[in-house]
Symmetry: C2
Subunit: 398 residues, 2 copies
């Protein structure tokens, strides 16, 4: 039986590539510190669980296809607080930001359509784009330049008749890069001039560590038809398992098409929507505390990395990831070796090798992504293991 | 900005087409009996809600991408009970049967690929097939023949080089048709001979009213690589709002591709999976009672329909839908009129007009789908309103 061409161009997750080696290492008694996946350890606000416990209907019915009105209303209020007014029909609830991206790509891409995305990028973008028949046109950045991508000339050089959109995660996964207001306005200007969708994956919006507050693409006037926001409760409220996301746009023609997908899959999980609505009652002090915690962790990571000779790493400005270039021949080989041959007091460490975050072949092979989602003490130990590992790895053949 | 060609070939839901007229009728004080949507009124087993209330972790984490092992294990046990042994990696948990269908179509269809589906069919199939670049090749059936579709000659006449799969809902939505064991074996034989996927959407498996028990395509030996089962807790346990489905196949190459989509969307909602695992502890008496209730309702519908002069309707053998041909010029016009001009003691009725269930233009225009998901007394009244409506509608210009 035939498989589709498009699915064969998709990849399995690079974050899970070394899972079998990890399982084997654990069997041999190793303790592994996980810096490889973005699962926060922050407590989910109890309001979520309380709302679910208080559900009192006898029949767990479908929710309305566009989302339950209460959750949409809470999201409207949240955006009104940052100065953006959205109507109810400009917000569709999705099963995580993931479904929002899948529906969006199917709605805007034909075979051969291109989406400009700064690389390194969130690897699952590739599956969403490829499965819709499109291709990622990478805007290559480098560790030496701090993964800076807002370069008008470079971006415009990539635009051609097949280009449909410019997409970015802001704050960035995997780099932690945050666009300045001027940079975002410049991107908006390009999108408007070339009649492109401008897709801002802003699921890490709360996690910015200093400097000016994050600007959302929804805050820029004049690009109402271009701008599409992807958002989610997963990271904001440490509620990844709820799978509640949203896609937001004032582009009525696009929203009408997206509604077809919402109706085709009937609805998003009812209880998770009710509980997610309750999350929006969390007050600002929750975010202040979480932000402060992540900032400390970021500082720890950056300091430890700067102490390792040969590492290239800029200070990330947001999210809870960073990319670093290591003084090793191959991050893939190094990670495998850390799981098969290395230990320090019975412990080792995992990260995500960098090549899976690039579309350009050969790029990122000595880079890694670190997700700083461990508590301070564990994080310090994990970073020390990384330093010890690099030293031992490079000393093997000396 | 451009929209994809494929999304523009998808449709909004025909079940929701008359929603604005219904809203208006309610504003004018009308009471509407809803036979138009398949939302069961049966109580969700309390085991679901209890499992959620007992969740005690502080962080609502992502579940594993293929699904939580406990739920997969419960599904393995359920299938073992009907004589089918599935390994853990032959079952993937999805966000409803809907996501299973979306992932499947993206995995097996290229632009121009064809899927043979008996019409009338579940309208959302069109969105899943179209959004993957494919097209439904309809196997047309008629009310006069009880929507019978298992005809080898007719099916083989539709197979060409673009055909990738034969797909059907069994028991059928919208027709309630149930394949006999011999018919299913014949379909399996065709799929094997022509190297096609055989996709059995078996979400209504428990709802068969008499005769031999339903045969699953998983029970047929020799088509392990062809057979794909779509299943869900939505109808089985009246848990539509949980959005928990599954895709099951022994075709390892296919499952490996599907896993790419599972990983790309990270996971299915954690709590809904935990709670759905608890549903499988419900004992057989639950299904017996539910089945008996639906059978009574079916009998009521069929009896009432047979009493209306000019209606063509066979007795459906399963699910909780039936299709009927009405003695009206247009089911669409009739439905609209029922909402705008008709009332009996302030009440009216809604069904789903038939044309949305057909791919062939012009087909089904005087047919309707009835979902018998109302309690006996309400159902009788709804059917009486239908009879009164037909009479009054046809008397308008006399």
């Amino acid at each position: 039986m035939k498989l589709s061409d498009k699915v064969q161009l998709c990849n399995l997750s690079p974050m899970r590539k070394f899972h079998p080696y990890a399982v084997d290492a654990v069997k041999r008694g190793r303790k592994i510190y996980h810096l490889n996946i973005g699962q926060p350890d922050i407590e989910t606000p109890p309001a979520f669980f309380n709302a679910i416990r208080n559900f009192e209907q006898d029949v767990l019915e479908y929710a309305p296809s566009p989302g339950i009105p209460k959750l949409i209303h809470e999201i409207q209020k949240y955006y009104a607080n940052i100065g953006i007014d959205y109507q109810q029909d400009e917000i569709l609830i999705t099963t995580g930001g993931s479904e929002a991206l899948q529906m969006l790509m199917l709605s805007i891409l034909d075979n051969g359509s291109e989406v400009i995305i700064p690389e390194p990028f969130y690897p699952n973008y590739n599956t969403f784009v490829r499965s819709a028949g499109g291709v990622i046109c990478p805007l290559t950045t480098t560790p030496e330049e701090g993964y800076h991508y807002a370069d008008r000339e470079k971006i415009e050089a990539l635009i051609n008749e097949n280009t449909r959109a410019i997409m970015f995660t802001n704050p960035g996964n995997p780099t932690g890069a945050v666009l300045t207001h001027d940079e975002l306005r410049m991107l908006a200007d390009i999108a408007k001039e070339h009649d492109l969708y401008l897709i801002g994956d802003e699921v890490y919006r709360e996690f910015v560590y200093g400097g000016e507050p994050l600007m959302s693409i929804g805050q820029i006037a004049g690009i109402e038809d271009n701008a599409i926001i992807i958002d989610s409760v997963s990271k904001r409220f440490s509620a990844c398992g709820a799978r509640i996301g949203t896609i937001i746009s004032k582009n009525k023609a696009l929203m009408q098409q997206l509604l077809k997908f919402c109706q085709a899959r009937l609805s998003v999980a009812t209880l998770d929507q009710i509980a997610s609505a309750a999350l929006y009652s969390v007050d600002g002090s929750y975010f202040d505390a979480v932000r402060e915690e992540y900032k400390l962790r970021r500082d720890t990571c950056v300091k430890k990395l700067h102490d390792i000779p040969g590492v290239v790493c800029s200070e990330p400005k947001g999210a809870f990831y960073l990319m670093a270039k290591l003084p090793v021949d191959s991050a893939d080989n190094f990670q495998k070796w850390l799981l098969t041959d290395f230990e320090d007091n019975g412990e080792t460490v995992m990260f995500a090798p960098g090549d899976g975050f690039y579309a350009t072949p050969g790029k990122g092979s000595n880079e890694i992504r670190i997700a700083y989602v461990l508590k301070q003490e564990k994080l310090e130990r994990a970073m020390d293991l990384l330093a010890l590992g690099i030293k031992a790895y490079n000393a093997r053949n000396n």
